[in-house]
Symmetry: D2
Subunit: 215 residues, 4 copies
């Protein structure tokens, strides 16, 4: 199970969370990565934790002021990137081009999608994984595995129908170890979570509790 | 073979082209439709020609100033709509929602895409058809069926792999009857064209020449 | 006082409202215009009411599928257009280019803005009028003239400081004749309204009540 | 004169250029800053050069995956930010909100604009400076001060008419010390440049030649 902690633009200490994630991953053997703001990538990567970007732009080197160049985030230490998160929805053609950009820079990719149809569409573009995150559940503390488990199994089916090699992750509302277990039972091989860790009073304790059932 | 004439924002007379298209369709039995500006839909529909929208917004009735509501274009006489044309690229989630909107309004749908991967992705969203239009060929007069026939056959395969019921159209650079024949030979069941008719000195003669091999 | 009724994408009968607006305008001498969906422009214009577009694209004639060409909306009967409504926010450069497009097509222009600073910015681009519509009040039934009258007077000042010839309209939450009076007292020379008429059980009665204090 | 070197997404070594810029600034007393990719901000800031962001998002702390948070770029060492560069055009309302975000994070601000009208509009939003960059000259090597000096003087007038305290910078095509002199003569107090340094074989020599007339 892959646990990807998205720090969004939360008022958290990215290095403190990265250190906790690195320790928890080392201690438990569970793969945990942290996705901070682009400006915090190098500070997070220096902790030794697996570091991800929240987004890369569909561009190559060139005149693209304000872009998030795949090569630059890789240079700062990112090993993977989210694409098309529900808070950063992209054009179909740009998701395709962002995947090309990530591949050029050797970044692992997770394309987010709202529902099983979009998961199938995303899978057709050849990412490493897709993540299903019903927008109405994000930040609620109600995991999709409980609120609507069919969405996860339908997403797993939709991805497999298009490309067997694409993993399916599960996001939105994940906050406990039970949620991770439930996601795994439904066929997900990873989870995206954010506020459950990034907004916790004690992020380290939150991470430990989260991965405990997997350890 | 379905011939869809996209008038874009060209400085043409939409009613004159619509009348020619209606006549050519009646005389030859070839299905021909015209997609004008939204503001010209009702004038075009009054000629009796099959009328399409160039785009619908991913919205339902509500507070959406400046949107192109599917119900409004249907009300003005549209029977189908393009979605995600290369000049009007949309977010993946919005293509999905635009398809829902079109379905609500009983509009037939063609989702455009740049390449076979995106064709597969578009097919996963359940449109009536997808159209492959390599952006670099649009407006060139060099048909994709000649410049790069593999793109069309790959698109047909990509769509079929995802959903057998989705038709594949072929766009970009179509201007002669031979181009239509070539597109049909590669597995396309429709073509999108624009400047070849809309910017012709004699749009009626251009349409007649175009459909002649099919008649 | 100019009363501009924005039908947005509401599930109303645009022709019924247009006929009511035309009659009320004729009977009272108050200038009333109706802004329907682009696809309904010609049907609305045929009633004789002053007809406005909700939006025009920052483009000239050309390859712009899915755009709303200023020339096309003018051709369908529009005499003016909103630009940058809060539900259709545009890039600064595109507001500028949309104003150029509207001028080419002889359309009167109202650029919407959230607050006095943006009103000043919009005025610098040379529209006929700017409209201040605090987003948090849209659709509430609480008029800006009551909720925060300083925003209107500050907007009037901000516009005048940049260009004395630019009118200031007032939008958001307008639903009664008293709201129009209050807007006029604060220096506005027009109002934008939408749900108060478009979602009324009896749009004609709503319009009559609205303009009564002005008649 | 303020010299702001925008590295865009160019395939350059941001730290090498930053070190050169820091040295040149120290040796000549000319204020020189470097604006790298967000992921490179901390590495650039560590050289001691004045560091700028290429863009900040119009958001506060919160659920904004993929955003460029003003606080995060400041935390990484940025002291200022470009906003609305021609390669990253933003909505009017978002320019306004990005300026608020930059102010919260104590970042100096330069809002870019295409022409004198947009410069006036940008000035009305209260940035520290505006930059006029005719899009057709970017990357050409032909400075706006030569190609069309009136645009610069008109921009200076347009900004002053709105707010005397807003500086005017000059961008597009700047590559020599003469171009800086010419910009200063036209009333600009800073310049934006990019390819002239970032794509130079010897960025240090390019910078030295550039600031020599000012030293």
């Amino acid at each position: 199970m892959f646990v990807l902690v998205n720090l969004k633009a939360y008022p958290c200490d990215p290095v403190e969370i990265a250190e906790a994630a690195a320790d928890v991953s080392d201690e438990t053997g569970v793969r945990v990565a942290v996705a901070p703001q682009a400006a915090h990538l190098s500070a997070v990567a220096e902790t030794g934790v697996e570091t991800w970007a929240q987004h890369v732009s569909p561009v190559e080197h060139g005149s693209h002021t304000g872009s998030t160049l795949a090569e630059a985030v890789a240079d700062a230490g990112a090993e993977g990137t989210l694409i098309n998160h529900s808070e950063a929805r992209r054009k179909l053609a740009d998701i395709d081009a962002s995947l090309d950009a990530a591949e050029r820079a050797d970044l692992e990719t997770v394309v987010c999608a709202n529902n099983p149809e979009q998961v199938g569409a995303a899978a057709a573009l050849g990412p490493d994984a897709v993540a299903v995150e019903p927008p109405e559940l994000i930040g609620t503390g109600t995991p999709v595995s409980k609120a609507d488990p069919d969405i996860v199994t339908d997403a797993v089916e939709a991805a497999a129908a298009v490309d067997e090699s694409v993993d399916v992750f599960c996001g939105a509302g994940i906050s406990t170890g039970d949620d991770l277990d439930a996601a795994a039972d439904l066929g997900a091989t990873g989870v995206l979570l954010a506020s459950g860790v990034a907004k916790a009073d004690d992020p380290r304790a939150a991470l430990e509790a989260l991965v405990e059932p997997l350890a």
